[in-house]
Symmetry: C2
Subunit: 379 residues, 2 copies
């Protein structure tokens, strides 16, 4: 743990369990799921009026640990630590910040790696397909449990942004404001395609064993690693890859003329794949990417404009110029649909070469924008 | 076979064998390879002066069969049939068109699936790493064999374009003109990354068996299929995928809420993967993608401008606006470097939504451009 004045310090992940049978959560598919545990963390203090709560929702492989450290010896802070803390974008001196994990994941919340109480075994593929709406419905139960009637804001990037859109549509009266970063009203065909290839890599790995690998001692690490490598290419831009790696060779001046790792970009991808398999469950990767593919905020509505009709949140939509996974056209579509409904929406297009990853990297610009946005709400 | 006036008709693949030991071809790696067989086809007639020969070089998974049909019952013509034939862009009434396969491939030329004469077994990974320069050096032997001192033109798209650049640099006196379509002076970090993930998918397939699968009866079809799916995403553009598939569902009105093929884009990719494994060798995929990764026309030169110093061919460079695998910036870099040397170069940027695949699809625009280019040479 680095000693910093603007850190939230030592934090602890908490767990909220609900939907105990027979009161299971009814999923969008019609299936029932329960009991459900949600992992979450909170930073700062909830005020008396319970009006200062900000819900942070995370991307594909994120978790509840968004800020601070888990122990004094912990070297790595939460995934959005540069945005959450005293004086930061999500200022814990003013706001009570909640970060909720998603159902279907593998970071402490109920997912395919959890034990199915009906069988006493890991769910595996018996886990029901979940959607972004299901994730949000579970989070809503957490917010109810915390006694919060209305969130000051709900905020997220990438798949987190999808949850933000869903929150503002499903629970309009519970969202004072919403910040949707590097996201889309529905996943593009290209992004679905990348997800599907990643899933194929996992299910083609013999260790996957139809999802039953939890007790075999062999995880589908090769397949999951390939899926992660594909993901990483889509998170960067051609420009950022060029700047970061170019055609630089790995620890050699000459080509190996063998099937070795010649280029630094190859080494980077291998490293990303290798470290990922140690922290993420392959089945969760299948479920969460499927939830992203299924996400389409217009489902059940006539149009995107129609979908946003009931929104009451004041909106901030942010896109990044080099993000080709969630291109600016998709962010602009959200803005247009909100404006068609005469909603209060601010739009910020950030010039960045970082690609989709920019939502985690453009900290200064995002901080400024979010502070301005929150200040404008207080006026 | 369709009866068409502008078809080259029934054609036959021919084979040229050279580099018999002890006169093997010395590869860029320093390894020796021989004997080498090159598959090729020709269309039209070589004139007395032997001055009307056009060499067509193909992309990653192409072959020598560029035009016409192999039999009367053959339903599918060669891969560039709409460009080669009487009156077409490569007019066989005027030109003698040669299409040469590449070494390292699996379409009749010597590659990893060939029998290694030293062992009597399939080469597998004993096949040496080959480069674009090696491919071109082999083709040069074919052109010598055909008695052609100078090609009227050398033409190719994608990896074919890399061979075009290499031809004009390695054998400047043999190229009257050169047409480089949707290509690059060196592969980008992003494209290397995609290639590497494809290779990882192949070598992670247990059936790959360290490259020794030719006699096991089990080919690494899952890995190769995944590699092909990744490739296909990069050949299309986000726009063309959106137009072609959008979020349309496959044979159902509703989500399956299962791990089934819900979206048409998934079904398309599966189909592309499945058909590819029936026609292409997995080891060849490793070797040919590695050759692309290694390609860098500036190697051994001070700069791209320096690399093109000796070029004497009149050049046509073509790019497509939505091609993100070989973006227009890379085509423009070729043009700039040629112009820095005061070479005769025409540049055409074609507005197209087809992505990298445009080089096979924008037939009308390409035909017009190539005819104009050839006409300007005859003046």
């Amino acid at each position: 743990m680095k000693s910093k004045n603007n850190s939230v310090g030592i934090v602890k992940t908490q767990y909220f369990t609900f939907a105990e049978p027979p009161k299971e959560l009814i999923l969008e598919s019609g299936e029932k799921l329960g009991p459900i545990t949600l992992a979450y963390e909170t930073y700062g203090k909830l005020n008396k009026e319970k009006s200062n709560a900000i819900l942070i929702v995370h991307a594909l492989t994120g978790d509840a640990h968004a800020a601070g450290y888990h122990s004094k010896s912990d070297k790595k802070p939460g995934w959005w630590d540069n945005m959450i803390g005293p004086g930061k974008a999500f200022d814990t001196n003013k706001y009570f910040v909640i970060c909720s994990n998603i159902i279907g994941g593998c970071m402490g919340s109920t997912g395919p790696a959890s034990i199915n109480p009906k069988t006493g075994k890991h769910y595996g593929l018996d886990f029901p397909i979940i959607t972004i709406k299901d994730m949000v419905n579970a989070q809503k139960r957490l917010i109810d449990y915390l006694g919060i009637k209305k969130l000051f804001s709900v905020v997220g990037g990438s798949m987190g942004g999808m949850q933000v859109l869903q929150w503002s549509v499903s629970y309009p009266d519970m969202c004072n404001s919403a910040i949707a970063i590097a996201t889309a009203p529905y996943l593009s065909a290209q992004a679905i395609a990348f997800d599907e290839v990643g899933r194929q890599a996992i299910i083609s790995d013999p260790n996957w064993n139809n999802g039953n690998y939890y007790k075999t001692g062999k995880i589908p690490s090769k397949g999951l690693s390939i899926a992660r490598m594909i993901g990483h290419i889509t998170y960067l831009s051609e420009e950022s890859m060029h700047k970061k790696f170019g055609r630089r060779l790995q620890a050699k001046q000459k080509y190996s003329y063998k099937f070795l790792t010649d280029f630094q970009v190859e080494s980077y991808l291998h490293h990303q794949g290798d470290t990922f398999v140690r922290r993420f469950d392959a089945n969760s990767y299948l479920y969460v990417t499927k939830a992203m593919d299924y996400f389409d905020i217009t489902r059940g509505f006539k149009s995107l404009t129609d979908a946003f009709k009931r929104v009451s949140a004041k909106y901030l939509v942010v896109t990044f110029t080099s993000d080709w996974l969630f291109p600016i056209s998709q962010g602009k579509a959200i803005v247009t649909a909100l404006r068609n409904n005469l909603k209060d929406v601010s739009y910020l297009e950030i010039e960045s070469s970082y690609g989709h990853d920019a939502f985690l990297l453009e900290v200064d610009t995002l901080t400024k924008a979010i502070k301005n946005f929150f200040n404008s709400m207080e006026k």
